[in-house]
């Protein structure tokens, strides 16, 4: 158990490509931290540098207060769980789990005891004599975890450990990974591209893009106060809606109606020295069927009427999708997010909008609906650099 400190850690490949740029991160002892971002954002490279599988070009990495830049992986006393599990196919489950202990020259009785303990924690006791090829995906994943926990390392590194499991098992394993980490209290660095895993698992989340840390914070904080367009669009599912808007004398004009900024938002925008043209971001749950909103709220929020494109009823909520006429909000961050989601080549004119309405809503697919949104929940972004103009440290 130890804290891990990344001090301006940089990775530059021999061909000059910058994979990770000056990452500063202090991971406390016992903390569960998530590195998240689209593919190619440098999260796995960062993890590999902590592991010692890749050299650090610049900066310092300290584990337990000690500089480890030059240490081989085996001397860092950290365990890693790989995306592919990387189990040794010629060894049984037991031998796989015992392997780190055997290398450490631990005596037989202790090896037996530790493997047994780990197998009990992970519910693998009856599979100890089987080979990895005879195990299911979930079992293999647990063996990989077992191999990591047997030797009580200073830290766990996990590289997308759940991404090869099917959806249902992934949810199940997600909770058991979380429980296991709490139970063992070992510092854990977890890499994922799945924002749901990031939201649910971590004490803190590090959002990366293009080798640069975008924001570090508790999941809820990142959700409520994204530092920029990229974090806003990446965290949350369905993701935040982005609509181009114009700021004019304390009012915000856009295709989803004009609203007067609330005092809180106005003060923030003034302090941030906002430009005239902005991108307005608003989460699906901050919309509501206008018929279900009381009069006081109705007058302070924004309102628009448009034909419902698609309506999905989830039982507890209804998701209404709109396709508004107008130019889509454009910025480098949004383009990258669309590319990551694979929707960059989906043809579409107009502005897509997702709203989450109460199940009591009378909205009907194909018919017009009156939709209200909460003016105080609006976030405004600078289109030139993606900065959140309404960001507060709160």
């Amino acid at each position: 158990m130890a804290e891990i400190v990344l001090d301006k850690v940089t990775k530059r490949y021999p061909d000059g490509a910058l994979a990770v740029q000056e990452v500063n991160l202090e991971i406390a002892d016992g903390e569960f931290i998530i590195l998240v971002g689209p593919s190619g954002c440098g999260k796995s490279t960062t993890l590999n540098m902590i592991a010692g599988l890749e050299d650090i070009t610049d900066g310092e990495l300290r584990i337990g207060g000690q500089r480890v830049n030059e240490k081989a992986p085996k001397d860092r006393d950290i365990a890693m769980v790989f995306q592919s599990y990387a189990l040794y196919p010629h060894m049984t489950v037991k031998e796989n789990m015992a392997f780190p202990l055997r290398l450490a020259k631990v005596d037989n009785a202790t090896v037996e005891k530790k493997v047994k303990e780990a197998a009990e924690i992970l519910d693998l006791t009856q599979h100890l004599d089987r080979k990895p090829s005879n195990l299911s995906g979930g079992q293999r994943q647990r063996v990989a975890m077992g191999r990591a926990i047997v030797r009580n390392p200073k830290a766990f590194l996990m590289d997308e450990p759940l991404s090869n499991l099917d959806a249902k098992l992934r949810v199940q394993m997600r909770t058991s990974v979380s429980r296991l980490q709490k139970q063992l209290g070992t510092t854990t660095v977890y890499v994922t591209h799945d924002q749901t895993e990031a939201m649910t698992l971590g004490d803190r989340v590090v959002v990366m893009r293009g080798g640069v840390v975008q924001q570090i914070g508790a999941p809820q904080f990142l959700y409520d106060q994204p530092a920029n367009l990229f974090v806003a669009g990446f965290i949350g599912s369905p993701s935040m809606n982005f609509v181009p808007a114009t700021l004019e004398n304390g009012a915000l004009r856009s295709v989803i109606g004009d609203v007067t900024l609330t005092d809180r938002v106005r003060q923030l925008v003034e302090a941030a020295d906002a430009p005239r043209e902005v991108i307005m971001g608003i989460r699906p749950e901050h919309f509501e069927d206008a018929a279900l909103v009381d009069a006081a709220a109705l007058s302070s929020g924004g309102k628009f009427t448009h034909q419902v494109d698609v309506l999905e009823s989830m039982g507890s909520d209804k998701y209404a999708y709109f396709n508004l006429t107008g130019e889509q909000a454009a910025s480098a961050e949004l383009q990258e997010l669309a590319k990551d989601a694979g929707s960059d080549d989906v043809p579409g004119d107009g502005i897509p909008l997702v709203t989450r309405l109460s199940s009591a809503s009378g909205a009907v697919e194909g018919a017009s609906a009156d939709i209200w949104f909460d003016a105080d929940k609006v976030q405004l972004f600078d289109p030139s650099n993606g900065r959140n103009l309404t960001y507060t440290e709160r």
Partner: protein, 281 residues
């Protein structure tokens, strides 16, 4: 439609079956002919019957009664095993480096080894003969082992590097994370997984050494290091008028047996999909 499709596939199957049968018969008839010859007595040797009229072990007794053949057999076995062992050990190391590491001159190394494999051996025989004579290697075991290793190494490196590339690199990373030194990772994780590749390569190299005639006849002169394929060509009948075909056939059958045994023995170890279960899927 389905009927026609079915007829077509059945027709295709028959066509392929026939073709395969022709190939198998074409390859096996001479072998069976040799076997048949080896069991014929000297009187019935030239009677042209496929199945011997009288079975006899005369030819086998003959070849084992003189040292000409037995000594050659010992030479063949010794030289082929030593050459195979050395080529496989060096080949494994070289192939691992080629598959895993990026080092300056890697492409040059691969290119040169390919060049050696492509080089017409016959053009090297005369210079080798001169070199070995002046070095005192002519007509010795090392005199054959060295050229065999030279020509078997490219083969070994190529086959083995293909096998090493198949082994997921993450296994090695995992071993490193588990506390293994590079040497331990190689010995305890990579080598056991590469074993089928090593055995396959060993078989190929062994067969190459075992079958060689060109070097063996050019670089040997006496029983001291003459291998079986060469010794066969020196077979004579017990008298000038006797045809040695029976003895040659018997010797040919005998030298085929080790190859068959070798393949059968190692076949069990060449288990496909040994690495399944290491990674997803």
């Amino acid at each position: 439609m389905a009927g026609i499709g079915g007829a077509e596939t059945t027709g295709k199957k028959w066509g392929w079956g026939l073709l395969n049968a022709v190939v198998v018969v074409y390859a096996l008839v001479p072998v069976l002919w040799i076997v048949s010859l080896s069991f014929k007595s000297s009187k019935t040797l030239a009677d042209g019957n496929f199945i011997p009229r009288e079975w006899s072990l005369e030819n086998y007794q003959n070849i084992f009664s003189t040292s000409e053949f037995t000594r050659a057999l010992i030479n063949s076995i010794g030289i082929a095993i030593i050459a195979t062992a050395i080529a496989v050990v060096f080949g494994t190391m070289a192939a691992y480096a080629i598959a895993r590491l990026d080092f300056p001159g890697k492409n040059l190394l691969v290119g040169v080894s390919l060049l050696i494999a492509m080089f017409p051996q016959v053009s090297l025989v005369s210079p080798l003969f001169e070199i070995e004579r002046s070095l005192g290697l002519f007509d010795t075991w090392p005199g054959l082992i060295l050229p065999y290793i030279t020509f078997a190494l490219p083969l070994a490196i190529y086959t083995l590097s293909a096998f090493f590339r198949e082994i997921p690199w993450e296994l090695e990373k995992a071993a490193k994370m588990d506390g293994a030194t590079p040497g331990q990772a190689f010995r305890r994780v990579i080598a056991p997984l590469a074993a089928p590749g090593v055995f396959t390569t060993a078989i190929l190299v062994f067969i190459f050494c075992w079958n060689d005639f060109l070097f063996a006849i050019s670089l040997t002169s006496t029983e001291q290091s003459r291998t079986v394929p060469v010794a066969l060509s020196f077979f004579t009948g017990s008298s000038q008028f006797e045809d040695p075909a029976g003895s040659i056939a018997a010797a040919a059958v005998v030298i085929t047996i080790p190859i068959i045994l070798f393949v059968l023995f190692f076949q069990r170890r060449i288990v496909a999909g040994l690495t399944s279960g290491a990674v997803k899927g």
